[in-house]
Symmetry: C2
Subunit: 186 residues, 2 copies
DNA sequence: AGCGACATGTAATACGTTACATGATTGG
DNA sequence: CCAATCATGTAACGTATTACATGTCGCT
């Protein structure tokens, strides 16, 4: 149940609602973990039963009430014990790479179009991460404690997006070049 | 059912058995798609029913019989139509990055140890990919057709592994430096 | 009047993982 | 003799996705 660790990690400094947690998975955290609100609400309930969290209902005016979850000492222990445990690289199932692999069967131009779309997607993503880097981590060499670890995770997101963009460029150039060769031949 | 596309992609040039397909997901294909033999056998059965594949049982001496699956014209159509379809980036759930994000709660040294392990893992992976690159793709600039697309997918695996190694190095250096700062302070 | 943000949930279904199950051959 | 490779499958379980469900407020 690895989602539980991800949720606890987001609850380290302050209590949050399920809705709030769901939104955080759409931000920079999304570069290494994704979860929908349905998953989150279910998991939060189970974690509260196990004593990793406790909750408090906050009555709000003009908005629905919300349930704030806070990490318990037991939860902190559970998370701390897990860090450094043997971890496996996550399973990747990347449609676009299956498409690339089978690219020879594609309608001409279809694959290139999708590669371009993907490139743009990661460019947008990267711009967002870069802004977070500028805003929250001005002097990265001096970081210690929680801020450092948040920064390192963000750096992974930045690198991941950059790597995608670079590969898309490489693939698009190679496909264009091979088409030029084929055209010259016949 | 995206697994079906991955299986068809592996069946483009020659018929293969379920066992054979399972092994290919452990090779370079594993950098962008993973599937266990149980999933594969189930999916192959369903795909045959739908007419994307047909099969032939091959009697072998000294070995169990095997069932060779071949892509049908319908299967080829199905795969070709899918390529270039709008695809989403795959969902990532990377334990090691949750650990990094929550690194401040770790037992000292535990996270660094796991980062080092992960680094080695990708170094081994990368060495394997590099060998494939040397053996099968001697002159990448001249590639066309199926060979080009296989090469581009392999390139993604190479880049992915390189990127992991580089990030692990960066993270390890940053953690070491922050510990030095903390030690100097008090 | 309609949309998006806020806020929380249930239910059904699809998908993936783990365990169980079998059995011959080859190499160390 | 033990482990690994070849080869195919079933069953149970856990997790994730998708659809359904409700309701207020503020903005355009």
């Amino acid at each position: 149940m690895a989602l539980s660790h991800a949720l606890l990690a987001l609850l380290i400094d302050e209590p949050r609602s399920g809705y709030d947690l769901a939104r955080r998975f759409e931000g920079s955290i999304g570069s290494f973990w994704k979860a929908t609100h349905q998953q989150i609400y279910r998991e939060l309930g189970q974690m509260e039963q196990k004593g990793y969290l406790d909750s408090e209902t906050v009555v709000q005016e003009g908005r629905p009430n919300k349930k704030l979850y806070r990490m318990t000492e037991k939860g902190r222990q559970y998370l701390g014990d897990w860090i450094g445990t043997v971890s496996e690289p996550c399973v990747i199932r990347e449609d676009l790479l299956v498409m690339t692999f089978a690219g020879a069967l594609a309608v001409p131009g279809a694959l290139a179009g999708e590669l371009q779309r993907r490139r743009e997607l990661h460019r947008t993503e990267l711009a967002g991460y870069r802004e977070m880097e500028r805003e929250h981590y001005a002097e990265p060499e001096k970081l210690t404690g929680p801020a450092l670890y948040g920064y390192l995770a963000l750096r992974r997101g930045i690198r991941y997006a950059e790597e995608w963009i670079a590969w898309c460029d490489e693939a698009l150039a190679a496909i264009a070049q091979s088409e030029a060769i084929s055209a010259a031949r016949g």
